[in-house]
Symmetry: C2
Subunit: 156 residues, 2 copies
């Protein structure tokens, strides 16, 4: 077993997990008191960061270790849990690239983080283009349908 | 504290951490026996996957919680550990997008994984374009210099 310690927590107006409309969500990651604010120095030189976090709201009993229909939708093929990005996965890790909005002391405000208020954050990494895919990305049609409204900005 | 269980381990000809030339490294992730091979079903429909792993070779005593020069290079600015991607970071998590080469049973062969033989793997996520940056990426000059030869393919 590998023991990890949250480096901080998400502060957000979003208190419930929803399937879509994360595009207009602005959230703040507050580093825990054990961290020097300087650990974020220089992050404002980057436009994006990757946030690794723990889907703490998913009960262990819900974790899928085999296959399932993404979002339980029978219109999409049943695929392995490692061929989809749902939260009910072994180790319940999330990894999302966000836009950096502002850094202030030990707080980092970001746009497009699909994690609810109180989520434990395990790492923050700056996005470098050299770490993005270096060849064309291919993905199945079901994943495009699933993602269609994920980042959609709603009026409310 | 959050306890994680490796889902598998890296099998690679690369036994030592090096700063550069990861581009020609092909590695295989073997899922642990506790996992059904079906958990990888459908991953071959994707060209890329993100691998989340544990830098198990980094001693806890080496972990930086404040600032440092990337790679210890004084020519580059001293920045916070969360503004760089070095392995000596809190929780010692790595997250790398790789090319999927082949899936066979509970083994996944990939290209461009910067993790050495024996590395514990914590998650495998398929790459969807919708989860890549949706606005232009900006990054400091030092990071471009640092990454210059990272993926370079060498003749040996």
């Amino acid at each position: 077993m590998i023991s990890l310690e949250p480096i901080g927590h998400v502060r957000s107006s979003k208190h419930d997990i929803t399937d879509d409309h994360w595009g207009n969500v602005t959230a703040t990651i507050d580093l825990d008191a054990a961290f020097d604010a300087a650990s974020l120095d220089g992050i404002e030189q980057f436009s994006h960061a990757e946030i690794i976090f723990h889907f703490h709201g998913v009960p262990l009993s819900a974790v899928e270790r085999g296959t399932r229909h993404p979002r339980g939708n029978p219109a999409w093929p049943r695929v392995g849990i490692f061929a989809q990005r749902g939260s009910a996965r072994p180790n319940r890790l999330g990894a999302t690239i966000v836009e950096i909005v502002q850094r202030s002391g030990r707080s980092l405000t970001v746009r497009g983080l699909d994690a609810i208020d109180g989520t434990p954050v395990l790492d923050i990494k700056p996005v470098m283009v050299e770490f993005l895919p270096r060849s064309p990305v291919r993905q199945p049609e079901w994943s495009r349908q699933l993602m269609h409204s994920y980042w959609e900005v709603t009026g409310d």
